[in-house]
Amino acid sequence: MPTLAHYLIVSGLLFSLGLAAVLLRRNILIIFMGLELMLNAANLSLVAFSRFNLLDGLPNYNAQVFVFFIITVAAAEVAVGLAIIVALFRAKQTTHIEDLASLKF
């Protein structure tokens, strides 16, 4: 039987991989995917906690509603983020992070 620790480790590794994508990759789209990975890692630990901390013999559904909200917000965030990337690409003709370094002195 898998324990809570199993799930948390997987969630943590997933989060680390997302972080790695953000820190290492230069393509802004891949960075964006890394962000999604991190969000999903958080979702996994929330669901795991909900299943392992029962409320009246049932999973704690408050956590799952929370996950539901996270997914909704993430969907909105993806839509807006991708629109920004498209606008950025129109302006600069690139999605490479090193070409998008105009925010400096």
Binding site: L19, V22, L23, L24, R26, I28, I31, I97, E98, L100, A101, S102, L103, K104, F105
Partner: protein, 603 residues
């Protein structure tokens, strides 16, 4: 239609006319004039009709702002005897002046603007007359201020007219500020602004006579501004820059009468505070004599009439202060409205005949060239001077007699002023109509068209006979109180002063080529305007300079510039931390999180 809806129709017809003229009037001169005259005539007709209806017991009223029991601002009309009389005066005079304007303004620019302004003005004035509470009266009070601003500044491209309209507005605002404070004091003490409820709750002030006096005097400040009493009288002579019919309507018959009307409206409250009545009487008495003195040395035909207006308003305010009923002042207001309107319209006729020359020392011998105007103006002058059996004789003398009975010192000042009135009025008549022509224009002057002379004739009738109609015929005021204990010789003194004034003017001015009497103090309006100029120049400009300094060095420098520069400097230093690489930022962020984790875990 009944007595409840008629006042609303009277009130809003001129507003509707003003709105239509504003949008459509510029395309058609007859349309503008017709609408304005029509709305005034409808008002006049309904007012007369209303006057002969029995008293309506309950005023129609709705709440404009309603914050529950705490604070309500009603809009409503009150149709008591006072309001009915005033409605009749205002609408009738307005109809005549509007008609006269067609002739006077025939060749002027801004025809539609002028008639829209007149209609708006009539609307505002009727609002004051009909108001049943202080707040509504104050709103229309300010509207009168605005519309008079528009009308006085009709020739706005002329600097003097623009300045005069601004001055009228600002000086009125000073008085209105006091008025507003007074309203707030009354409201704070009684919780109501309705005149009827205020009258009933007057007993609340029994223990606080000073509070009541202060509130009443502050409300009186509104009259001081609007009715041009000392020391806020300066705007009225200057406002003669407007077209002459405007002077006639606003500054003789209606607008300035609003202040007196307001005092009459709150007279039951004023009666409870003798001290305030005494202050009112003194302000009125001093205004009356000071303005009469100034009038004796003016050269502009309209300014002479303007000062005489101030003087007569002083009589009315004096009457409020001394007489036991507001009817005494309202009687004079009514007769004054007739003859002063007549005088102004005659002056306008003379001015048109003289090709817009206003200096009386360039006129002369107009008697034969403008006979109708001459006779009408004589009728007005006789009434103003208080010639026995004309309207002014009855109304003014009643105020004077009450003043003699109640406050002898003020009374004798008023008696002396009556002599001055006769003198300056007939000085004007003799210089303008007798003697020799002093100017080319005077030689070729001509009588005005019928549209202008007919109102003159119509106004001359009440100017001469209104006094008789009221005192013997019971028109408008049927219970005028007569003073009982005045010695009989006062009457003879008044006759003598009238004769002396007219005779003195005849001897001095019959053939004078220039003014034989020169009193600079009177010609310069007792230097009051100079004092105001000095105050504005030295005190107000000084204050403004201090404020400008504070604005420049305290607000701009200390409060705005220094924090902005400090912020900018901090930003400049922090800018060097920015190198634009997104992933570097992410790295520092992640490193910070990891560092925080270790810090928390190892604690």
């Amino acid at each position: 239609m009944n007595t409840l809806t008629a006042p609303w129709i009277i009130l809003f017809t001129p507003l509707a006319a003003a709105a239509v003229i504003l949008f459509a009037g510029r395309f058609s001169k007859p349309l503008s004039a017709g609408l304005a005259i029509g709305s005034a005539a409808v008002g006049a007709f309904l007012s007369w009709w209303l006057y002969f209806q029995p008293e309506t017991p309950e005023a129609l009223r709705f709440y404009w702002l309603d914050f529950g029991e705490v604070f309500r601002i009603p809009i409503g009309v009150t149709i008591d005897h006072l309001a009915k009389v005033m409605l009749v005066i205002v609408t009738t005079i307005a109809t005549l002046v509007f008609t006269y304007s067609v002739g006077y303004m025939k060749s002027e620019e801004g025809y539609w603007r002028y008639f829209a302004g007149l209609s708006l003005f009539l609307f505002s004035m009727l609002g004051i007359v009909l108001a049943d509470n202080f707040v509504m009266m104050f709103i229309f009070w300010e509207l009168v201020g605005v519309s008079s601003y528009i009308l006085i500044g009709h020739y706005y491209s002329k600097d003097s007219a623009a300045d005069a309209s601004k001055q009228a507005f600002v000086v009125n605002r000073i008085g209105d500020f006091g008025f507003m404070l007074g309203i707030l004091l009354f409201w704070g003490a009684t919780g109501t602004v309705l005149f009827s409820e205020l009258r009933e709750s007057i007993a609340l002030f029994d223990g606080f006579p000073i509070y009541l006096t202060v509130a009443a005097v502050l409300v009186f400040c509104g009259t001081v501004g609007k009715s041009a009493q000392l020391p806020l009288h300066v705007w009225l002579p200057n406002s003669m820059e407007g077209p002459t019919p405007v002077s006639s309507l606003l500054h003789a018959a209606t607008m300035v009468a609003a202040g007196v009307y307001m005092l009459a409206r709150i007279f039951p409250i004023l009666e409870a505070t003798p001290m305030a009545l005494e202050i009112i009487a003194w302000v009125g008495g001093l205004t009356c004599v000071a303005a009469a003195l100034m009038a004796t040395q003016q050269d502009d035909i309209k300014r002479i009439l303007a000062y005489s207006t101030i003087s007569q308003l002083g009589y009315m305010v004096l009457g409020i202060g001394v007489a036991p009923s507001s009817d005494v002042s309202m009687f004079h207001l009514f007769t004054h409205a007739c003859f002063k309107c007549l005088l102004f319209l005659c002056a306008g006729s003379v001015i048109v005949g003289m090709h817009h020359e206003q200096n009386i020392w360039k006129m002369g011998a107009l008697k034969n060239k403008m006979p109708v105007t001459f006779l009408a103006m004589c009728a007005g002058a006789l009434a103003l001077a208080g010639c026995p059996f004309t309207s002014g004789y009855y109304s003014k003398d009643m105020i004077i007699l009450w003043a003699v009975e109640k406050a002898p010192l003020l009374g004798w000042i008023a008696v002396a002023t009556a002599g001055l009135t006769a003198f300056y009025t007939f000085r004007l008549i003799f210089v303008v109509f007798l003697g020799k022509p002093r100017d080319e224009h005077a030689k070729h002057a001509h009588e005005s068209p019928a549209v202008m002379t007919i109102p003159l004739v119509l106004l001359a009738i009440p100017s001469l006979f209104a006094g008789l109609m009221v005192t013997k015929g019971g028109l408008f005021f049927d219970h005028l109180p007569h003073p009982e204990h005045v010695p009989h010789f006062v009457h003879y003194v008044l006759y003598a002063l009238f004769a002396a004034g007219v005779g003195g003017a005849f001897l001095l001015y019959r053939n004078a080529a220039k003014d034989p009497i020169v009193i600079p103090a009177f010609a310069n309006r007792l230097y009051i305007d100079n004092v105001y100029n000095w105050i504005v120049q030295h005190i107000q400009d000084g204050g403004a300079a201090v404020l400008a300094w504070a604005d420049r060095w305290v607000v701009d420098l200390v409060i705005v510039q220094i924090p902005s520069k400090v912020t900018w400097a901090c930003g400049f230093v922090l800018r060097f931390l920015q190198f634009g690489n997104l992933q570097a930022y992410a790295f520092f962020f992640g490193a910070g999180v990891v560092g925080l984790l270790y810090f928390l875990l190892s604690r």
